[in-house]
Amino acid sequence: MLFGIALISIIIMLGSAFAVLFFENYLASVVALSVMSLALSVLFVVLQAPDVALTEAAVGAGVSSVILALTLRRIGLWQDKS
C-alpha cells in the first residue's frame, strides 16, 4: 500500500521534473515545478516526515512557484516560447 503510493508519487515527481526542463512554455514549466513539489511532499509523508511535507507544500509548491510566476510576468516571458 505505502509502497504503491511511494512509487506513484515518484513517477509523478520525475515525470514533472522532466516536464519542467522540456516544456517550451515557461509558465507550463512553473506549473510542472509546482506539481513536482506536491508529489515530493506526498512522498515526504510516506517517508514519515510530516513537518517537512508541510514545509515543502507551503514553501516549495506555494511561495516558490508564486515568486517564479511573478518574475516571469515582470520580464514578459509569461507566454513566450523559449
Binding site: 510530516p50 513537518d51 511535507a53 508541510l54 514545509t55 507551503a58 514553501v59 506555494g62 511561495v63 508564486v66 515568486i67 511573478l70 518574475t71 515582470r74
Partner: protein
C-alpha cells in the same frame, strides 16, 4: 559540443552516485547515530511532543538563527537590488468583485490557520516556517486582488527586525540565566500540553513572525517592481 560534454559529465556523476547509493543501501552501517540518542533524551530535556521542533529550536537552535539570517540577508539584498519603488509605477488593474471579496473573506481564516500552526508547532507537525509561509500568503492574496493598495513595507520591516531581535534576546537571556546560548528556559511542563516545552513556543512565534513578514515583503516587492 557543450551539450555533449554536459551529457558525459552528468552520466559520469550518475555512475558515481549509483555506486555511492549501492554501498549505502547494502551496508547500512548506521546504528548508533546521534539521532537515536536525541530521540531518547529530547522528551525529558526539552519536553516538546514534536521532536523535530526540539531538534530545530533546542539542539540546533543556532542553525535556525542562521536560517532566519539567510532569509534576512536575501530580503536585504533584494531591497538593494530592486531599489526604491518609484511613485509613478503603473498598477495592474483591480481584480473583479468576486476575487476581492473572496480575498477579504479568506484573510482572517488564513491568519487564524497560520497562528494555529505556529502556536502548535511544538506538539503537532508544523511550526514557525510553515505557519509563517501561510501568514505571508494571507497578506499577499489581498495585494493580488487589489494591487493599488500595497503592503506596508515599514510595518513589515519593523516586525522583521523586532522578531529577529526577539529570537536573539531569548537566546541571550538563556546565556545570562543558564550559561548557554539558546538553552531551553522555563522548565518542560507536561508533554503534549499547549503550554509546555518552556521557551520553545516563544521562539517559534518569533520565527513565524519573521518568516511571515520576510516572505510577505519579498512577494510584495517582486510583485510591484
Amino acid at each position: 559540443m557543450t551539450v555533449f560534454s554536459g551529457v558525459i559529465f552528468t552520466i559520469g556523476l550518475g555512475v558515481l552516485l549509483i555506486a555511492v547509493m549501492k554501498s549505502l543501501i547494502l551496508e547500512q552501517v548506521l546504528t548508533g547515530g546521534i539521532g537515536s540518542i536525541i530521540l531518547e533524551q529530547a522528551p525529558t530535556e526539552v519536553g516538546s511532543a514534536n521532536i523535530v521542533s526540539s531538534v530545530l529550536l533546542a539542539y540546533r537552535g543556532l542553525d535556525t538563527l542562521g536560517e532566519l539570517t539567510v532569509l534576512f540577508v536575501a530580503a536585504t539584498a533584494i531591497g538593494l537590488v530592486l531599489g526604491q519603488r518609484s511613485p509613478d509605477t503603473k498598477h495592474d488593474s483591480e481584480a473583479g468583485f468576486i476575487l476581492r471579496s473572496a480575498a477579504d473573506l479568506l484573510f482572517p481564516f488564513m491568519i487564524m490557520l497560520g497562528a494555529y500552526i505556529i502556536l502548535h508547532g511544538h506538539i503537532t507537525p508544523g511550526g514557525g516556517f510553515q505557519g509563517g509561509a501561510i501568514l505571508a500568503a494571507a497578506f499577499f492574496i489581498p495585494i493580488l486582488a487589489s494591487p493599488a493598495s500595497p503592503l506596508n513595507h515599514k510595518v513589515s520591516s519593523l516586525i522583521e527586525g523586532l522578531a529577529g531581535t526577539a529570537f536573539i534576546l531569548i537566546g541571550l537571556f538563556a546565556l545570562v540565566g543558564k550559561g548557554y546560548f539558546l538553552a531551553p528556559l522555563f522548565g518542560t511542563g507536561d508533554i503534549g500540553a499547549l503550554f509546555s516545552a518552556g521557551s520553545l513556543p516563544l521562539l517559534y512565534l518569533a520565527v513565524g513572525l519573521k518568516v511571515g513578514s520576510e516572505l510577505a515583503g519579498l512577494l510584495a516587492r517582486l510583485q510591484e517592481v
